[in-house]
Every structure is written in structure tokens, then in C-alpha cells.
Symmetry: C2
Subunit: 533 residues, 2 copies
């Protein structure tokens, strides 16, 4: 009897696509073998007392072991909890404490972080090939070695808890830019359906990140960000060769594309930039790759550069609190500026998802590409709320819909464009100023690597925009002002949108998810009075 | 809150693809309008006392009204029961009686059949534009006119029963070749998932019947055959223009392909033959069309002829008792004989489906393209058994698997080939003779339109094959024997497979599903002693 639970995906892959490969640093195995190891991992966990409902913390890069553990959790009816090792230690401790993780699987190279978490869990199991620099497991520093646990298991019956598709499967923490990470719980059916529908959407449409059954995929999005946007689920589902990059540097990622025949990857714009920079610094000019990107605005300069290097891409819209919602479908084969812009901004709802742009009164706004309101999303895989945060849940999940907190416009053809975060938008004299538009125009200046616009409290107007630009060298302020003035003359900017001040930094602060940390910028440029925005 | 029920598909289409067209004879409307009419149909039915769990009989060709009614049933939590008007009246009565249908929606042109069914139902509602030849509804012959019911409804709230995806949605009768039709019940999730996975499979693979978001689809498979293999579900899901052929003749179907820009259709091989014959008799040599075909063997002669006319196709494997299970994925761009043969025989399981070829002892046979056994299928949308037939259910649905009763071989690459029905296979001297192989070779003779091979009881060998060929004129027996002798010499046939007798008919008897009626052939050529086989 099929139950629509996570581990059926890998079992089916072993059955239907047993010879398709999983590559993870030095390790190379077939899905049939990955399934065998997963069964052993589940049996070993059960042997040390892990069972139904227990939360399993996984502190690792994208490795085959982290992949196996996510499926082994399903077999036991346990909860997979991929941990964000980029969080400040204090926040990481919060996530493990809030998750009530009972066991921690940790990459040996992350031993210092793991030691911080040790008091919170019953067992620590070390992943990775080497434990150099670690004390002897027998001394108490490590309870188990993962590979030892597996070696001790003989082939045998599969420990299959009678989980159903509405049972909880995983726990993930958001990486919000304000306050501590919030926890979301997902059911089996959520993490089965959302990744599969992403894959189906990418197969059905002519689009940059199109997927077919002959693709080779390499997720650069870490597992702890919404299960790497679903790749570890849909790769075995489609029988695709899966390349897990481990701790590969951007240059090594490019090498993997060539050596393993990778055709498809996912990454945030920052990673895309790093990849292109790594290529440039080694004299490589092109790489043939389909890329699904998202998580933050894709600056037009970066989009053009990627396009010229041979990268075809689509933009995904979603997040931990709604999973995947929409993907741009323009084919941008022509590569004209208009095509790239459409691709970067016009999003097409994934099948089964409904989107709605609503005014402050909750009423739907016309689909006229003009009326700006908050984007609401409804889908079969919406989580039901934040763990232990009823207030935010009630405010955010309304009548079965998720209020995204993003400002958007609907187009007449059913696509939509996100213009900015509601809380990042600036209200000046009663009118909206959309920082992302200003940021995109600032990014067109060749020297400007990144730009951020934030609202500064203003006695007369309520708020006024100020800009912070990142560049290797200080940029001539007159040059910036000329560029903005031209944008006003061309009708691309309203005059009252012009920033009151322009600041320069070598680097903009980023969150662990690679987004510009506007909280940090507000704190730095506006002082305490700005941080509550 | 999304519940994964049938009517959400059409609601989403109205929401996301509101302008996509539905064409049905003279009627042309957008999905948004079809949704409005569906809501009205549900409200009207509720008004006359139809509600949750009631079975709704639909006796119609593929029309927009039959389409609407299938969605309206979902809105009410009622059960859609598309009726097979090609069945003998006695069998049709059985299906309505067994279904306990409470209301009958009937095409005016099918009035004689509807009158036979009238005593079994509470209400009769007439579909279609005209009621010519019918008595006045007021006289008692007709309770309602469908369009009147809709006109009387004003726009208003949607009557949405709180159905969930595990509630029953539809009832269909198989068209078995032995005995009376058997009834299957499907849940909402079955009829949501199976059609969507068919569409996803066709989008993910390079294959003849590939689907994309710009296709225009015309189902020639009637709704009463497994919901037209899912087209009325996946067309709105993908926002595809849907052309419903009504009672169009094969020639009119070709005209619709041209006039409506149809790019994709489904049909059994017999319909494909009729379509090509209609083209030939009107001097048309080519039509560009992607076709999903199945339901019976596709003779190589027909496959070649279709290919030369510009038709690209894939073969689907499934049935009422298992829904869709597999689709061939060869792209056959080359059109060589080998490619066409692979396409006609090598089936690739639809994602989420597992197949297994097993010996008489239930043990799995090796995937060596040689070992022949019974095909077992497991999928998330398997029905749970036959209505009111526990014995057949127990024999057929075993440990969550469906025993197909088909003989098949597994290939090393995970595809499989169906060689024949278990019950049609002939055992001669302890060895299998596969009628379909013989039939395919006989069909290569230019004059032979169709061929059937059945087993004749034989004292010495147990069974021996005899062949019945259909041709316009009597075919020279020596010519047939020469062709078969060459096939033996070429190693395509074992000598002991040569039929003991060859009979000629102008037409072979067909079942209502368009398959060769071997029960009728056995009865005609073997007499009473052969019919129990």
C-alpha cells in the first residue's frame, strides 16, 4: 500500500532507477545503494532508542550522509531537523532547544558547534570520512561514528513505522532578518508534494531552469533551507544523477559542473555572483548550466553577466513559511534586456497554488500590473503556522491563506511581480517608495556591486529613502546622482523617490541566507530609533 | 484550505487560466465561465434534493455539459457515474442499478436508452441543445432540461460540501470481455493524482505524446472510459484549450484538429485506424498530431501508417482497475522500424508507480527481457477492489498490489513489455505461445486489416493456436503461410507457434471498448467447449 510518505521516494528510485548515481565528494553510489544505507541508518537509530516522533538534528553540508538521514528519519516516523550551521551559535542553540532534538548528527569539521549543542541531546554521531582533530569517541567527546553504526548493521528487514502522509516529517527554522529563527513543521505530504510540483512546473514550461529526465542536478542551496528547495526529493523521484557539493568552493563547484556533467543547479543570487567571480578569476568565460535562483532580488547586472556566461535561469518565489509558490517561465532565449527583466520579475504560480494581491482591507486588487498590495498565497502544502508562536501564526495564516508580507502587483495573464517586502517599503508623504526598484537602478552603475535602500524617519514626510551602495572603491557621488537623474528623466523613477543620502561601504552585511541584512543597516545608519521598523 | 478534491482543479483553472477556452460543438466558453456553470449545476441539483453520496448517472458523448457535471458532482460531495452508452441495454441497466444512481443526465439523442433507465432513477435531466423527437417535458417523459435548470440559478454562493480527498468521487464500470461490467469506485485523490501524473510523465519525457503548456487537447476516449484517461482533469490543471468532440465523425475530428489547432489527442488503435481511413477517403495525406494510444495492441502496420501521416504517439498502459500505470517514452524521431517497435512495446512506469513481473509462485522474475510472468502493479491511486464482488477483489488485489492478468517481461532498464493477457496466452506442449506476437506478424501482410489468434483445445498438445484474419477480400492462404514461414526462417517465430488453421472474416467482432472480442471468436470458432477458456 502506497502512503505518500517521504521514504517511498527513495525506495521507488532504488526500484525504478536503481543505477542512477549519487555523487558526494569522494563517494559515488547508486540509488539502490543509498537506499540500503538509509535502511541501515534507520535500523541503527532504532537500536539506540530513536523512534517515532523523535527529532533528529543534522549539522552538515549537503552530503550523502545528510541525504540518507533525511530519508532514514521518514522510515522511523521520526522528524528530520536540518540545522543551519551559519547561524550565530546562540541562535543555533535556540533551534535545537526549541526542536527538542534528541540526537545530533554532526560533520566532524563542525565539532566546535556540535560541542555547544551536546548538552541538549542524548547522542552525538559524527559524520564525514575523517575525525582529525577530534578526541577519541570513547573519551566521551563522541558517542558514535556514523559509518561504524552502518557497518554494524546487517542487511535485513526495513524498519517501517506505519506513518501516514499527514504525520509530521520535518522541522526547519526560518532565517528571518528580525529576532530569533522561527520554527515550522511540515507533514510528509507537504515535502512530497511541493518539491514534485516544482519539478513538474519546470518540466511543463519552456523556461531557463527547465527540467527533464536526462538532467544532472547539483543543489547549492543547503538542505537546511527548505530541504534545498526540494532537490533531494525530486532528483530520486525523477531518477536524476545527483551531485552533492559538500564543502566545495565556488571554483570547485564549476569544476564539478564540468567533471560530473551537471546541467542544473540552484543557488541564491549571491552564490551565482561568487560562482561567476570564481570563473573570472581563473580565466573561464563560460559554463553551460540551468539555474533556479531566488531568495532575494536578482540584480539586472548579475542577470546579464550570468546570461552572457551561458547560464539560463528561472526565478523561484517561496520561503520556509509557504514552501514553493511560483517560478518565472519566460524562456529568455533571445537574451534581450526586456526578456531578462521579464524573467527576473514575472512569476507564474506553480500548479495547485493560488495567489492573490490584496489591499489593506483584505479585498483583492485588480490584475492591472499597477495596483500594489500584499501578496497572499494558498497551496496544498502550506504549513499550518509557527511552532510556539500563536500570535504570529494568527496574524500570518488567515482563512487558509498565507500572508507573505511581500508587496506585489498581479498582471492580466495570471503572473505576478513582487516589488518589495511590505516592511521594507517606504511611505513618503503617503505614497509608497519601493526600495527594490531604486536598488536595481543603483546596481546598473558598473562599479556598484550591491545596493540597499532603507527608510529614514522624517518629520515632514514620515519616511525618506537613503541609499547604501557596496563597491570596491568609493564611487563618485556625482556619478550616482547623474545616473539617478537620468532614470527620472527616462520615467523610470519618480522624482520624490530620489534618496536623501547616499552612503558607501566595501561590503553590505548579509544574513546567513545570503540576503542583505537591512536590520543591521538600519541599526548602523539610523541608530536605535530605526530598528523597530 | 486546499483539500485536494476534484472541483479545486476547475476552480484553479478559472482563477489562474480563466481565459483558456473550452470548445464543445457550437459552444465556446472560457474556464471561468465553465466554473460558473458548474456552480449553477451543483446549486440546481441541490435544489432538487441531490446531495452528498448520491450517484449521478451521465449518459452523453464528450460534451461541455458532461464535463461540467463531473465537476458539479464533486462540489456536492456526490458521485459522478459516466455511463457507457455503447453497452448492450441489459448491461447498461445493470450498471445503473448497481450504482444506485438517483438522477440521470441524458443526451436527447439517447432518449431510447434513457427511457429504459428511467424506472431506476428519481429524475431525468435532458442535455443537449435540442430535444427534437422528444415529448414535452411536462408530459412526464422529461423531468428537467439542463439548460433550464442552469438559467433558473442566479450567481451566488458556491455549495461546497466539506469533502476530503479520501471521500469517494466517481464510479465507473469496466468493459470486460467476460460477463457483466464490474464496478470500481475512486476517491477524489485517485482521480486528481493519476491524471496529473500522466500529464507530468508526458511533460518530463521526450516522447511522441509529449505535453506542454501550449498544447490544445481533444479527448477521443469517452469520459466513461476512466474519465477519458484523465484529459478533463489535466487540461484545466494545465490551462490547456480543451476541444470536446461531441459526436464528431472521424472526418469531423480531423477537421477539428485543423480548425481548432488541436495538437494532442487520445484514442484506441481502432479510432486511430478510422481517423486515417477517413483522411485517405478524402484525399488528405497528413495531419500533425500527438496521440496517446492504448487499450489494445497497436499493430505495426497501423503504427507505420500513422507515423507516415505525421502522427507522433506514445502508448499508455492501464485500465479501470488500476488507472494509468505506464507510458512508452521513446521519442521515435527517426521513425525507423526499430524505433516504432520499441515505442509500441517498451513501457516506462509513470512516476509513483511500481511494477513487478512475477512467476506463478508470486516471486519476482529477473529483469532480463526474457522471463515471462504476470505483471503486478502498485500505485497511490489503485482502487481498493470491485464493488460487490469480494471474490474477484481478493484474487486481484493482493498485499496492496494489483494483479493485472497480463503477461509481461521486465527489461534491465526498468521498462517492461506486455506480451499478452494471461488468459489469452496459449499453452502448447507445456510452452507458452503468445497470440499478440503472431497477430502482429499476420498484420504485416498488406491485405490483413486485423488478426486474432486463439487457442483450440488439442488432445496431444493441450492447446494449439488458430488464426482469424480480417480483410476486405479473401486472402490467399498460401500467401499467409509463406509470410509466416519467412518469419520462422528469420527467427521471429518458433516453428511450433505456426497456427493449425487460418480463417478469414470481413470484420472481427469488437467489444464496446474497441478491442477484439476473443470471447465471441472462441464461441464462433470453437463452439461451447471453448468459451470457458
Amino acid at each position: 500500500m502506497r502512503r505518500g510518505v517521504i521514504h517511498e521516494i527513495l525506495f521507488d528510485a532504488a526500484w525504478n532507477h536503481g543505477q542512477a548515481e549519487l555523487v558526494s565528494e569522494e563517494v559515488r553510489m547508486a540509488y539502490a545503494q543509498a537506499w540500503e544505507r538509509t535502511v541501515k541508518a534507520a535500523r541503527a537509530m532504532r537500536r539506540i532508542g530513536i523512534g517515532r516522533g523523535d527529532v533528529i538534528g543534522i549539522l552538515d553540508v549537503n552530503s550523502h550522509q545528510a541525504f540518507e538521514l533525511q530519508y532514514a528519519a521518514s522510515l522511523l516516523g521520526a522528524i528530520a531537523h536540518p540545522l543551519n550551521f551559519r547561524l550565530p551559535a546562540e541562535h543555533l542553540v535556540h533551534t535545537v532547544r526549541q526542536g527538542r532534538d534528541v540526537i545530533l548528527f554532526a560533520n566532524g569539521a563542525m565539532a566546535p558547534l556540535a560541542e555547544v549543542l551536546r548538552p541538549l541531546v542524548r547522542h552525538v554521531v559524527w559524520l564525514g570520512e575523517t575525525q582529525s582533530g577530534q578526541d577519541d569517541p570513547a573519551s566521551g567527546h563522541a558517542d558514535f561514528l556514523y559509518e561504524d553504526l552502518l557497518s554494524n548493521e546487517e542487511a535485513g528487514s526495513t524498519p517501517e513505522a506505519s506513518v501516514t502522509d499527514t504525520d509530521p516529517y520535518s522541522l526547519l527554522h526560518t532565517t528571518g532578518t528580525t529576532g530569533r529563527p522561527k520554527a515550522m513543521r511540515y507533514r510528509h505530504r507537504d515535502i512530497v508534494q511541493a518539491p514534485l510540483q516544482i519539478a513538474h512546473h519546470l518540466a511543463l514550461h519552456e523556461t531557463g531552469a527547465k527540467l527533464g529526465t536526462s538532467d544532472v542536478v547539483m543543489p547549492l542551496i543547503p538542505f537546511f533551507h527548505i530541504h534545498a528547495w526540494g532537490v533531494p526529493i525530486f532528483a530520486p523521484y525523477l531518477g536524476l544523477k545527483l551531485v552533492l557539493p559538500g564543502k566545495a568552493t565556488p571554483l570547485e563547484q564549476v569544476r564539478l559542473v564540468h567533471s560530473e556533467g551537471v546541467t542544473w543547479s540552484n543557488m541564491v543570487p549571491t552564490q551565482l555572483l561568487m560562482l561567476l567571480d570564481a570563473m573570472r578569476s581563473h580565466g573561464e568565460t563560460s559554463v553551460t548550466l540551468k539555474v533556479l535562483t531566488g531568495g532575494s532580488q536578482l540584480p539586472m547586472g548579475l542577470a546579464s553577466r550570468a546570461y552572457e556566461a551561458g547560464i539560463r535561469y528561472s526565478l523561484i518565489y517561496g520561503g520556509s513559511d509557504q514552501l514553493g509558490a511560483a517560478i518565472s517561465v519566460s524562456s529568455h532565449t533571445a537574451g534581450s534586456r526586456e526578456n531578462l527583466e521579464a524573467l527576473s520579475s514575472r512569476l507564474n504560480p506553480i500548479p495547485m497554488v493560488r495567489v492573490s494581491v490584496r489591499g489593506d482591507d483584505g479585498r483583492e486588487l485588480p490584475a492591472d500590473s499597477q495596483s500594489t498590495g500584499e501578496l497572499w498565497v494558498e497551496s496544498p502544502w502550506l504549513p499550518h503556522g509557527y511552532l510556539e508562536d500563536e500570535m504570529t501564526t494568527e496574524r500570518t495564516y488567515v482563512d487558509g491563506w498565507f500572508r507573505t508580507g511581500d508587496l506585489a502587483v498581479m498582471h492580466p495573464d495570471g503572473t505576478f511581480s513582487v516589488v518589495d517586502r511590505v516592511k521594507d517599503a517606504i511611505k513618503s508623504g503617503g505614497e509608497w517608495i519601493i526600495p527594490s526598484v531604486l536598488e536595481a537602478i543603483l546596481s546598473e552603475i558598473p562599479e556598484v556591486r550591491m545596493a540597499a535602500v532603507i527608510g529614514r524617519p522624517d518629520e515632514r514626510w514620515g519616511e525618506r529613502p537613503i541609499a547604501i551602495i557596496a563597491a570596491d572603491e568609493r564611487v563618485d557621488k556625482a556619478k550616482v546622482e547623474t545616473h539617478l537623474a537620468k532614470a527620472v528623466a527616462d520615467g523610470r523613477l519618480a522624482r520624490f523617490w530620489l534618496p536623501d543620502a547616499i552612503h558607501w561601504l566595501r561590503e553590505l552585511p548579509l544574513t546567513s541566507a545570503g540576503k542583505i541584512d537591512k536590520v543591521a543597516l538600519r541599526s548602523a545608519f539610523l541608530g536605535a530609533q530605526g530598528t523597530g521598523a
